[in-house]
């Protein structure tokens, strides 16, 4: 546990100082932990587990856009879990208010244990459609087509700087839309 936490802190420090590969590894390493936490939260609130991946993505976006509030001298895990807790509570509150669960619909599908495989997330993908065309194209190119910044710039005849700006604005806007829904 401590070793893992130290590793996260180390990866995040490197990420903050510009190491994108370390950042990629860090996000990959925390995701399974966030997934378990999201499932547990949903189960405890008596909500269907099929939304867990939406919550995981919500947390990842918040981690990304708020990472400047992490103090690099502090361990990373408490900060991460504070963000995760906040997003989970938000998600449960939001869904508790809006979703009317028909018990009969779920009686058969409520698993006694969390499903092993991850269920697809739908909210980020849905909100992606509402972004301005340029931001959506850039995000899709990088996310879905796994193109690099440079390839994306060539594809849309944009400068790399413009791609970076569109990417960042798209992510920020996506997060705002998820919060408002």
């Amino acid at each position: 546990m401590h070793e893992r936490a130290d590793e996260w802190t180390d990866l995040m420090r490197r990420a903050i100082s510009g190491d994108s590969a370390a950042y990629h590894r860090l996000l990959g390493a925390v995701t399974p932990v966030l997934r378990v936490a999201a499932r547990r939260g949903l189960a405890r609130a008596g909500q269907p587990l099929d939304q867990s991946e939406d919550i995981v993505q919500d947390i990842l976006l918040a981690v990304h856009l708020k990472r400047h509030t992490w103090n690099t001298d502090a361990p990373f895990a408490p900060w991460l879990f504070a963000i995760a807790r906040n997003k989970l509570i938000d998600a449960l509150r939001r869904r508790g208010r809006r979703i009317f669960v028909n018990i009969d619909d779920f009686a058969e599908t409520i698993p006694s244990e969390p499903a092993a495989e991850t269920v697809p997330a739908s909210e980020v993908a849905a909100q992606l459609q509402s972004l301005p065309a340029r931001q959506r194209q850039v995000l899709q190119s990088i996310a879905v087509d796994s193109a690099s910044i440079r390839d994306t710039a060539t594809k849309f005849s944009m400068s790399e700087g413009a791609v970076r700006v569109a990417l960042h604005r798209g992510l920020a806007r996506l997060t705002a839309k998820l919060r408002e829904q």
Partner: protein, 212 residues
């Protein structure tokens, strides 16, 4: 979008450096301040006898109190802009302006006064005081909230209330240069009520706009 795809996208955006919350907060307050200052000078303005008033320690004390409130609230609000931060001992910082005020009240009791205590407490400008501090603080509160939106407060309403105190402290600093009621009893009562009011507005606004 699959989570792996999202992670790849976030990693591609890692080159972007966000400014620290303190920097953005300072910038937003500097942008909002001229609005409040303009409101102050077009409606009330500095009291005419300000040069003589400056020799009155109780006039000067008002600025010590209001600036201490603004600075303490700024420090606490920056602390709370981190998601894992707890209020705990930090709330004690907000007692600093209250402590200065209490010392002032004690000092005033020691020196002979022309007016009885109640008259000093009620003063001449209580209504203007409430209205002015509340109104002048609104642009600053908007600025503070814009700045703090850059952070990630776990409890948005609390962070909003502290932002309210911060803006009330700054607005009260402006108002104090107009007001002829220098008694710490007046300050404790009316500045106190106005600050509580702005803190409540801040809590209400914060619970909406400071969620991340």
């Amino acid at each position: 979008m699959e989570t792996d795809q999202l992670i790849r996208t976030l990693a591609a955006d890692n080159t972007r450096r966000a400014r620290p919350v303190g920097f953005v907060l300072a910038l937003a307050l500097v942008a909002a301040a001229p609005v409040s200052i303009l409101m102050f000078f077009t409606t009330l303005g500095v009291r005419p006898d300000v040069m003589t008033a400056m020799h009155n320690p109780f006039f000067d004390l008002k600025f010590a109190v209001t600036l201490a409130l603004a600075i303490a609230a700024m420090v606490v609000s920056l602390h709370l802009s981190r998601p894992e931060a707890l209020l705990r001992g930090w709330a004690l910082l907000l007692l600093v302006p209250a402590g200065i005020l209490a010392l002032g009240i004690g000092a005033e009791m020691m020196v002979p006064q022309r007016l009885p205590m109640m008259a000093r407490l009620v003063g001449h400008n209580s209504r203007v005081c409430l209205l002015a501090i509340t109104l002048f603080s609104l642009p600053l509160l908007a600025g503070a909230l814009v700045g703090l939106r850059h952070g990630a407060p776990a409890r948005p309403a609390v962070a909003g209330a502290i932002a309210g105190m911060l803006s009330a402290g700054l607005a009260a600093t402006l108002y104090a240069s107009h007001c002829t009621d220098d008694s710490p009893l007046f300050v404790a009562t009316w500045y106190g009520i106005a600050t509580a009011l702005v803190a409540a507005i801040g809590a209400l606004a914060g619970s909406r706009v400071l969620r991340f």
